[in-house]
Symmetry: C2
Subunit: 350 residues, 2 copies
């Protein structure tokens, strides 16, 4: 059996849509969840996307995640609102919140929507890009369970809370910035361990919080924030916006979907939408974004092996390649999905 | 002569107010500039504040900075506007933009104000805190001249664009997060050089853009972004918000106040203000921010020499100490200020 199997995105999307529908989600929501996860894989962000589908499906089946949430505004006024996600799928809640934020930004030119009682929503860039597709700037953040330790601390104090910003380019290449606030993701520690390499001391700590250059000790321990106090403080800000001012939970109030598979995660998201076309014409914005990109692309390099990219460019390239050649899925994940398909009774397995 | 001279903040503020007034600024503006710079020193952020006063005064005298700007809204609608700073002092422009953003947030609960044709505005935290003092969350960013090189690049491509966020705590200790997006400031390279220490390879590059562990080569070269592509991308976002969508300049359009002392810098700022009290009562917010802080403060440490702080806490402590004991000014800066006072004809020298 090969290490990876390539599956066309359409086949994968159809399969996942059916799986989500079987859990009781309506047609629109199950189709969106499948589309969003497959899109994440098309971007090459394989740490999210389809890899997480088996866990989501388990949580939907056990009703830790509510397949038919009533997502509605509960607080706020003017251009700022908070909604409850009613323990729904993070993808569905995230989409509803972004749609509401876009609606408010159409009226007020800037808006923010916070949402409580959500769950893991995948790549933050998905929602930021929804705004860009509507000619607006989307800023999306979410809190996650504390997994980042402060320098000197012996247990995690905050999450590697992601932040994504998408800007409409009115051109071929989207601008989508999407990061999390640990210096690296856990996957990089695994990779270094496999290669037998040491890791820089600012990547991770051992289980007592002490910096380590041993990737295995780092994997038992905690992640360090990007830029020390810089990433740490920004992570606090994201938690405050996503969980504290929304009336949701923050810091240790969030529940890990892995440690508490049968409980709602109570995750909070926060989305800001800005309408740049009240400030300039579409043509002017397009020209300026093209200039911005041109300056980046033509910047001289001493390292010819590298290419300057605007945020989102590499994902765009990967998407084009994978639409053509299919999405590589690990043999293990493929088997898990096939087994799930059989168990849940899909009409046509993957 | 001692290395540093301690001056009371009141004396320093009075002296600077008079100097700025002599350049033609009105009473309100000159008093605000002095207050803001002295406040920055009270926080212990000595890289900004009074250190920069001689340069600002030179630029005001030469009219590179307009001492009597007409700052007004030029584009936008609803809760989003852009203003022109009319080449005024960054401090005056920043304050006007933040005041307008607060006014809009009072009406819409979230607002954003961008501003073009400004100049160096000092610490971004000054403006973020203006919002917090009005019970609102302030997010403040600004673009600066490209001084950060992308990994692999041989010349700077973006600025270490600062970002500050202040959240009202309704308690004794403010929450003010204020960073710039280079891994470290240039001052840290100087310090390492003085101590004869090597620097980590992710701090700076030599003049060709190649990573170096030699602080002297780093000082001749460029700064690296915090977290590699993470800080780099966020810096792009800040430039787009501050300069691109506002109709101002971005990337290499900004002029360094040091390389072009006689030209306006054309700096852009962007401020977002959020009114959390439409989402919850003041009491609830106060309780939640106190809980947030308590979790940070009681987090266990393996390194007893360190203390967990909320962003802005160390500045708050320094402020209390310096209000009592005065602000330490280097002998060199003291001499420069005295000479300026004499030259510009203040009624009472420092």
């Amino acid at each position: 059996m090969p290490e990876t199997i390539n599956i066309t995105h359409k086949k994968l999307e159809k399969f996942l849509t059916e799986l989500f529908a079987i859990t009781g989600m309506n047609a629109e929501d199950s189709s969106w969840c499948a589309e969003a996860m497959v899109k994440t894989n098309l971007w090459g962000v394989d740490s999210h996307g389809v890899l997480r589908a088996p866990d989501y499906l388990k949580r939907l089946t056990s009703r830790a995640i509510n397949p038919t949430p009533k997502i509605e505004t509960v607080r706020g006024g003017g251009a700022l609102e908070t909604m409850t996600g009613d323990d729904g799928m993070g993808y569905v809640v995230g989409k509803a919140a972004m749609n509401r934020a876009i609606e408010l930004a159409e009226k007020y030119n800037i808006s923010a929507v916070g949402v409580t009682n959500s769950n893991h929503f995948g790549a933050a860039g998905l929602y930021a890009q929804m705004a860009a597709e509507r000619d607006m700037i989307g800023m999306v953040m979410t809190n996650v369970i504390p997994n980042v330790v402060a320098p000197g601390g012996s247990r995690p104090i905050t999450g590697n809370n992601p932040l994504a910003v998408a800007v409409p380019t009115f051109g071929d290449i989207p601008f989508v910035f999407d990061i999390s606030l640990s210096n690296v993701a856990g996957g990089k520690l695994l990779l270094a361990s496999k290669k037998g390499e040491k890791i820089p001391f600012d990547w991770a700590t051992d289980k007592d919080g002490r910096p380590t250059d041993d990737p295995d000790k780092g994997f038992e321990g905690f992640l360090l924030p990007v830029g020390g106090h810089k990433g740490l403080g920004l992570s606090y800000v994201i938690d405050i916006l996503s969980g504290l001012i929304t009336g949701g939970v923050f810091q240790f109030g969030i529940k890990s979907m892995y440690k508490h598979p049968n409980d709602p995660s109570l995750t909070g998201h926060f989305m800001i939408v800005i309408n740049p076309l009240i400030l300039m014409s579409r043509d002017e914005m397009q020209t300026r974004m093209a200039e911005f990109r041109e300056t980046i692309k033509t910047s001289p390099m001493w390292d010819d092996s590298r290419e300057m990219m605007q945020p989102g460019e590499i994902e765009h390239k990967t998407q084009q390649e994978r639409i053509k050649n299919g999405i590589p899925i690990s043999a293990q994940l493929y088997e898990d999905l096939v087994a799930l398909g059989t168990k849940m009774g899909v009409s046509e397995n993957i």
